[in-house]
Symmetry: C2
Subunit: 313 residues, 2 copies
């Protein structure tokens, strides 16, 4: 049963990027020690279990972040691990955060990095990208390619049928991403082999704005590799983690974009939702600090793109 019929994912994402004039998305990673004290004070109920309390706290935190940035960013990337760690209460909070963000018009990219085979992959895909009564049905998710093409297929099928998107891990932002992803096989690195797999899916997933709904995760901490992959994959949108806390700067990321000023969305999590703890924003309340940090990040990226002559609007 179809619950919605809308534009192709990648066209919706690009529209939001252009309307907000912003290439940056906000990572909702509600780590326990980022939750502001006033939310603990307001929401913690000592007669409930810790898991139930944490579910309520992280939902409240997610909601306040969304309220503070929904009009200035194209979307959010909730990281499910920080919800899943509180079991069913955490997943309830995750579902509520995703629904709240969608109701506010945000693109929701659930960072779940799932990867499995056959009917198992279909079960994941039907939940995240399906249109069943029981589906969460976010706009897009991240997936892990280690199990190969047939493990990706059920997700791709739902993307096409339901106008959803995927970001497949290509080159991740962490130090050990080299262990597997950089291995050279017959003149190609593993991450390039994954890139080829994504390029092979382009034809059936192209939108009307020159990009495909099957994107790639490319860590902002690897400038050279990012620029190299960009040249290989002109029509692939990149989801770029690693900005801020992990070390990538705006100037490192210009080469992750195409000359049309599109092609990448840059994620920041702690740098936005934990901004109120940074020296720079320390006298500002949680939500105001997050909004200010999101505006600063937007302007920083736009400035570097402008200087490089890559402007999309």
């Amino acid at each position: 049963m179809k619950r919605e019929k809308s534009m192709v994912f990648i066209d919706r994402l690009i529209d939001r990027i252009i309307v907000t004039k912003n290439h940056c998305i906000v990572g909702i990673d509600p780590h326990e020690n980022i939750i502001p004290k006033y939310i603990w004070d307001e929401c913690y109920n000592s007669s409930m279990s810790k898991a139930e309390n944490m579910g309520n706290l992280i939902y409240q935190m997610g909601k306040e972040i969304i309220d503070s940035i929904y009009d200035i960013v194209p979307g959010i990337k909730p990281q499910i691990a920080f919800f899943e760690q509180y079991g069913s209460f955490g997943i309830k909070a995750f579902e509520n955060v995703c629904c709240y963000a969608k109701a506010k018009g945000l693109i929701v990219i659930a960072d779940v990095k799932r990867g499995d085979i056959g009917s198992t992959a279909r079960a994941y895909s039907d939940y995240y990208l399906g249109c069943e009564d029981t589906s969460l049905s976010v706009d897009s998710i991240t997936v892990n390619p280690y199990l190969g093409r047939d493990s990706i297929e059920p997700f791709v099928n739902n993307c096409i049928d339901n106008n959803k998107g995927l970001f497949i891990l290509v080159k991740t932002s962490n130090k050990s991403s080299s262990d597997i992803q950089d291995r050279l096989c017959n003149g190609k690195r593993i991450y390039e082999i994954v890139s080829d797999l994504i390029i092979g899916l382009e034809e059936k997933s192209m939108g009307n704005k020159g990009y495909s709904s099957i994107g790639a995760v490319v860590g902002g901490t690897y400038k050279e590799e990012g620029e190299h992959i960009r040249k290989q994959m002109k029509r692939t949108y990149f989801l770029v983690p690693g900005f801020g806390a992990q070390g990538a700067k705006a100037s490192d990321l210009v080469g992750f974009f195409n000359d049309d000023g599109l092609g990448a969305i840059i994620n920041s999590s702690r740098g936005i939702i934990g901004a109120y703890k940074l020296e720079e924003y320390k006298d500002k309340p949680f939500a105001i600090a997050a909004r200010d940090a999101a505006i600063n990040m937007r302007d920083e990226i736009n400035k570097k793109l402008y200087e490089a002559g890559k402007v999309a609007w």
Copy 2:
């Protein structure tokens, strides 16, 4: 906060294998069309949402399977995707199935195939393998190595601190596992590079019975590769999917074991929990069919090991 202090995971698993004289575990993959009609009739409540109903149904099904096999198998492998697809209600069922199985003395290997970096990996690890108030704290989980060594570390640390276990994807049972895993890099296949990573973790995770608590997932559908990996990894326990419905036969799996008659646990999901739908068991009730299928599988594997002179008891 520590909730339990017990023997090293791999020693506990081997003890259960020897006590039950069984190398086979039962995969709890409660696919909607495997749930027996009488459970639908008993549990479905039309005033509740589909997701809530499905949570109740799959818990009931899992519980009945556990009741039917807990005394004859070493453990179970619940596949989280079939629970996660029903959101928070599904995860509640997953938690309840895992707790119920643990209370019955079964080893619980949660098939979650998680893989992420830094504090995200720690959040997953603390939930599945931790000893926090909010931890599910099963015995072991499966993880995906695509993100490299530092993505595995938080899981390994919890294994050592809390006597838990891991099974890292090496060579999966699906057809496309060759896309990435079989690539040849400098004379080594990617799955051998992952094997080396696991061997490197042996020293800190060895139990008292000659095996390490950091195991490998090796698909039973790849006989030659399985035998090859076995020779490289003498002290690694294999979790072997692919028996039955996916095509691996008992005779294919002898070479996945060491000469001591240990070294592998063979999983069957549909072949056990869906046995009542097979011609062979068609006049038997759901739970009896599952028990009979589990006994037949146990005997089949033991017979082949006996014929090969690989007997552990």
